[in-house]
Symmetry: C2
Subunit: 369 residues, 2 copies
C-alpha cells in the first residue's frame, strides 16, 4: 500500500522520538512492501518561532490530506510565560479539534521487564491490561474562557452527542476486549458529570447490553487505579479527568516513555482498508498518534529520550489508520522483545547501563520479524 504520513516533531524531545518512530515505520514498510511517504510540518513552539502561530495553516492542510498524523510533543520553558498570547499547547488543542479527534485511546499494559521502574508493587501489576478512552475535543479544555485583572473562568460543557460518540467507541473497544466498561465522572458535584452518567447508562443499556458497566467517581478512581488496576478493562472519561488519570496510570507501566496514544475521529478514510482489529470497525478513521509523554525539555537534544512510546504510537497508526494489523503487531512484538532483553533507556534503567535513543531504535529494528 501507499500511505502519506504527516510528521509533526514539535518541541523538546519530540524531534528525537518521531525520528525514531519514522525509522521503524520505514523498516516495517520495507519488510512488508509498503511505500510510506513522510512529510514533516511545524507545530507548537517550533511553529511559533518560525511563523508566529502554534498551528500554521499549512500544517493543518497537510494533516487533512494525509492518511495519518504522527506527533512528537509540544511545549517548553521558552514559551511558557503564562501571559504569552500564543502557546505551543494551543497548536495541539487546535489540531485535535480541527480534525475532530474526539476519542483518545491510551492503552496501559505494563511490560514485565519494566515493572522495576514502576512505583507500584509488582504483584499488583501482573495481568494489568487496561485502555483509557479519553474524550478529547470537549469539556473544560474548549469551553469559553474569560479573564480580567482579578478574575478568570473556564466553562466545562458537554452535550449528549459528544458523550454518546465517545462512549460508543469505548463500548466497541470493550466488546473486542473483556467486555467491561468503567465510566468515570464526578456526578455527586458536577452537572456535566450527571449528564455523562445518564448518557453512558442509556447508551450501554440500549446499544451494548452485553457490556458490563460500572460508574466510578474520579476521586475513587484515582485510588482504585493503584490499588486494583487488574480489575479494569476499558475506562471512559471526560477530557480533564482523562488527562490526569492517564498520567497517573502511566506509572503502572513504569514510565511515561512506554505509552503510546491514538486520537481518532469519525470520518472513514480508507473504506477499502483491512478490518480494524482493535475496535472492530470496518474502516480505519482519521487519526493522530503521539506518545503520551511531554516534550521533556530537561533532556532534549541529548539523545537519551525513550523512543518506545513514539515507536508504539507508530504501531497504533498502522493498525487504526492504515488497517495494517500484522505490521502493527510486528512493531509491538519487537518492542516487547527489546524490553525483555533489558534494552532500557535512562527512564527505565533503575541501575546499570542505559542505552541511547539511537541504540534503542536500532534494537527494535533488528527485532522486526
Amino acid at each position: 500500500m501507499h500511505a502519506d504520513i504527516v510528521v509533526l516533531p514539535g518541541d523538546g524531545i519530540g524531534p528525537e522520538v518521531t525520528a525514531a518512530a519514522v525509522e521503524v515505520l520505514r523498516a516495517v514498510g520495507r519488510r512488508y512492501g509498503h511505500a510510506f511517504g513522510f512529510h514533516e510540518h511545524l507545530i507548537g513552539g517550533a511553529a511559533i518561532d518560525a511563523t508566529g502561530e502554534p498551528l500554521p495553516a499549512a500544517t493543518l492542510e497537510a494533516a487533512r490530506r494525509a492518511d495519518a498524523v504522527l506527533l512528537g510533543a509540544v511545549g517548553g520553558p521558552k514559551w511558557s510565560d503564562p501571559k504569552a498570547a500564543v502557546r505551543p499547547e494551543q497548536g495541539l488543542l487546535a489540531i485535535r479539534k480541527a480534525l475532530g479527534l474526539y476519542a483518545n485511546l491510551r492503552p496501559v499494559a505494563p511490560h514485565p521487564a519494566a515493572l522495576g521502574a514502576s512505583p507500584v508493587k509488582p504483584h499488583l501489576l501482573t495481568g494489568v491490561d487496561l485502555m483509557v478512552v479519553r474524550e478529547l475535543t470537549g469539556g473544560i479544555y474548549f469551553g469559553e474562557k474569560t479573564r480580567t485583572a482579578t478574575t478568570a473562568s473556564d466553562l466545562c460543557e458537554y452535550d449528549v452527542g459528544e458523550i454518546e460518540r465517545v462512549v460508543r467507541r469505548a463500548c466497541t473497544l470493550a466488546r473486542s476486549r473483556r467486555g467491561k466498561l468503567t465510566s468515570v465522572d464526578k456526578a455527586n458535584v458536577l452537572e456535566t458529570s450527571r449528564l455523562w452518567r445518564e448518557t453512558t447508562t442509556r447508551v450501554v443499556a440500549r446499544e451494548f447490553p452485553d457490556i458490563q458497566l460500572e460508574h466510578q467517581l474520579v476521586d475513587s478512581m484515582a485510588m482504585h487505579l493503584l490499588s486494583r488496576p487488574r480489575e479494569y478493562d476499558v475506562i471512559v472519561t471526560e477530557n480533564m479527568f482523562g488527562d490526569i488519570l492517564t498520567d497517573e496510570a502511566s506509572m503502572l507501566a513504569g514510565s511515561l516513555g512506554l505509552l503510546p496514544s491514538a486520537s481518532l475521529g469519525e470520518v472513514a478514510r480508507h473504506a477499502g482498508a483491512a478490518r480494524d482489529a482493535t475496535d472492530g470497525s470496518r474502516s480505519a478513521t482519521i487519526g493522530l498518534y503521539e506518545p503520551i509523554h511531554g516534550s521533556a525539555p530537561d533532556i532534549a537534544g541529548r539523545g537519551i529520550a525513550n523512543p518506545y512510546a513514539a515507536i508504539l504510537s507508530g504501531a497504533l497508526l498502522l493498525r487504526h489508520s492504515l488497517g495494517l494489523e500484522d505490521e502493527a503487531d510486528c512493531i509491538e512484538k519487537a518492542v516487547s522483545a527489546v524490553l525483555d532483553a533489558g534494552v532500557f533507556t535512562a527512564d527505565l534503567a533503575a541501575s546499570g547501563r542505559a542505552v541511547s535513543t539511537r541504540e534503542a531504535t536500532e534494537a527494535v529494528i533488528e527485532q522486526l520479524q
Copy 2:
C-alpha cells in the same frame, strides 16, 4: 477549658467513626481536665430523610455557634439517583461554603506499620511527609451550573482574593515545616490556572520570599506524587485538582482510613487560645474536621470501619480550633502506637486478624498517655 463541639455523623459509616472519635475526645478531655460538650445534628442523606434538606437550618445554626465541627461522611446509593433534586453531598458543600472553610488541610505521612497496605513500593514511602492544602469553597464546585435535556455545563471561576488567601495559608504552613511549596495547576490549558499561577508567584515573591516555590501541571503531579513523594512538603491546589490528588495521595498512606482533614476559615474564634502550632497563627479559626474517606455504604453498620481517620480528625480539631497542642499530640501518638502494635482494621490487615471499630477505638484510648 470548656468547648462545644457539633458532631455531624452523616451517612454510612459516618455514625460509627464519629462515635469512635467522640469517645477518644472524651477520654482526652478527662485526662487533661477539659469539659467538651458534644451536640449531634443532621447532615447529608440522614438529614434528607428526616427533613427533606441535606443541610437543615438548625444544623448550620448549631455549627456557627460551636467551637468546632466534627463530621463523619455523607452520601450513599439510597440518595444517588443522578436526577434527584437534593443530594447528600449538597449538605457538605453548603456547610463548607456557609462557614467560609476555604482551606482544606490534608496531611499525608505514611505510618511505617501501614506500608504493607500501600500499593506503592515501601522504599519510596519512607520519610514521606506532605500536606495538601486544597482550596475548598471555589472553582468548578461552586460555579454556575446549567442543564437542558441535551446539554450541561459547570463554570470554573476564581478571583485573586480566593487564591491569595489559600496560598497564604499554605505558605504559613510551609514555613512551619520544610519551607517548600508546590503549586498545582493546568496553566497550559486553563485561564483559571494561569490566574492561579500568577497569583501564587506574586504572593510568594512579595510576602514569603523565604519559601521555595515550584509549579507543577496537574497531570505531571499525578505521576510525581507516586514516583517521588518524598520531595513534596506543602502542595497547594484548586478544589477539583485537590479532590483527585488527595485521594491518590491517600494510597501512599496505605488506606483512606488513616487520613484526617481540617477545613479552616478565616474568623478568629478563640483569641485567647494557645498558639496554633501547625500554621503559626495566633488564634484558632473556625473549623470542620472530617476523615477524607467517604461513607463506605458497603461496610456500614457492620462495626468494621477504620476509625483512625476520624480519631485523627479529632486531634486536628483540638490543635486547630481549640489550640490544644499537647492533647492533639497525645491522640496522634496513641494512634501511632496502636498501628505499631499491629492493631489493624480490615482495610489495613493484608492478612491475619482484623479488629473491629470498637476494638481499635479501645486500643487508642488505652494508649492515651
